[in-house]
Symmetry: C2
Amino acid sequence: MRVEGLDTPVPVVDIDLMEANLRRMQAYCDAHGLRLRPHIKTHKCPEIARMQLELGAVGITCQKLGEAEIFADAGFDDIHMSYPIIGASKAKRLGELAKRIRISASVDSDPNFDTIEAAAIAAGTRIPVLVDFDSGAGRTGVPTPEAALRMAQRVLRSANLEFGGLITYPLMTDSGKFYEHALALFSSEGIEIPSFSGAGTPTAWAAHETPGLTEVRQGSYVFFDRSIVADGAATLDQCAVHVHATVISRNGRRVILDAGSKTLSSDRIPETSGPGFGLIREFPDAVIARLYEEHALVNVPEDCKGLQIGDRVRILPNHVCVVVNLHDTLLAARNGEIVKHFDIAARGRST
Amino acid sequence: MRVEGLDTPVPVVDIDLMEANLRRMQAYCDAHGLRLRPHIKTHKCPEIARMQLELGAVGITCQKLGEAEIFADAGFDDIHMSYPIIGASKAKRLGELAKRIRISASVDSDPNFDTIEAAAIAAGTRIPVLVDFDSGAGRTGVPTPEAALRMAQRVLRSANLEFGGLITYPLMTDSGKFYEHALALFSSEGIEIPSFSGAGTPTAWAAHETPGLTEVRQGSYVFFDRSIVADGAATLDQCAVHVHATVISRNGRRVILDAGSKTLSSDRIPETSGPGFGLIREFPDAVIARLYEEHALVNVPEDCKGLQIGDRVRILPNHVCVVVNLHDTLLAARNGEIVKHFDIAARGRST
């Protein structure tokens, strides 16, 4: 079937663009001696992750144990959990995974440490641990090289854990400075930093400029989206996923599309980067001004001849990761012909 | 299992509160002689819709054919499609449904009319059609009573359609004025308006004040949420669904919860109604200032003793409909004990 024959609203990935995106990032990493450990949050699809491994990725990155369980079931045996795992129930689940596959974890607090250690003890195996540091974005991570050292020393004292290095998100100019300070501090204590992992597609192409970086965990590069284009890390022509939608009502300047927040999500990007809830590729000046659950309200000039009822458009999502997570499958096209569908197996796995 | 034992983040419905909400709305409708035709968009769950029917609802309302197909498969035989259905493929699907169950449709344009008529012809049955009018919100609907009359006359001229009356969303003060103008106009042409259907939980308790209203299609009243509370149509204590989350990282004023936009959605409510991405019931002054896909960033006073790593909180979602649509199941508790789960069978059915 042709894309034009699909019922809308429907996200469709262009496989040729996706494959080119996968190859380009792997080539960049290969050229700069960086290991690529893709974050599966964007596609949540074992089949696509397998393509990433075949191109040279060293393993995958997950945030939630529910994602890792899906991917372990699908045969993936090297997963990093870049997320604070906390509590007895999650220790048990992490331990079950550690019995089956090589799983490493990030740590940024004592309760987090205790959880990972309990998992390792339960599994009877050593779990590699990377110390997560905050390079300025203020999300997770220890705040200073001194705090990173204390946490690394705790890891090194544990018989059940292995110190795997440092990790941060997102990769920023300050990430390299933090690493250099940490390197000096750790060296003075005779501690080696085996690896340094960073992530963030917006700054992906400058990752090699970060001192000491050995690994990247990019996610969005598989598809790209309007946000990444606004950040300058991709062109519109490289964006692989669009939501196909139909005009279902119109009254003068007011056009209604059949894709609302249950299809596009309500994620915004900064107004200066792009107004509204997505970019209509055929009418880039039209603004998706408002989303209801199943409607998009688009304002157009009164004399706009396009966007008549029944017309179809392609919407570039603001943020593709949350769009894919709304759908159980992702249809895939080559030259406009639907050739397969991807099973978004880890969709909704948030625990 | 107790709610406190569940892995987070997880939405949980309090069944007692939900049942009270269902009874209260049905009692209101019964007291005022209004038919209740609940919109399933909020729960997307046949089991909950069946409870609504057992209490006295006359049928259900869907927006997307994919939802109606799920509910028809589950045995529902009276569905109104309050959404512009457009195009040949959707005409075919509507026709298939019309062969199986009583399905009615809304219409606000000629292409919309043509689609419904094609479905009726294919099904060999008459489809009841309500003319959708815009009472000022500017979403769908014909703009004037005159346009409504023209559309009703088109329906009346068709051998395959049945004129069912007028329909609007959301119900506003102007809805009644529109209806009264239309009533005079239709009467002058000798046309009866068999029913008048309105919707919108924020104004639900004043629906009976709308002249001529015969039916309401409320959705959110099953659970309520922070938005509805801000609108004054429910109290905090009536809200039946909360997302249970855990503090997974903290650095002074910065608290990180494990529920991000893939759990809570990015839906906002007006800043004056409530800042941030949801209300933390235990810390109503704390603001969920930012959502990542799997993280919520909460700013608290430096000396805040609560919200330590490992602590659990209940988040009242800004907009419960989009939260439920992110999850395949909805766990249900009585007095804090998990007693069952609801299958969100129509989750993600957006076509």
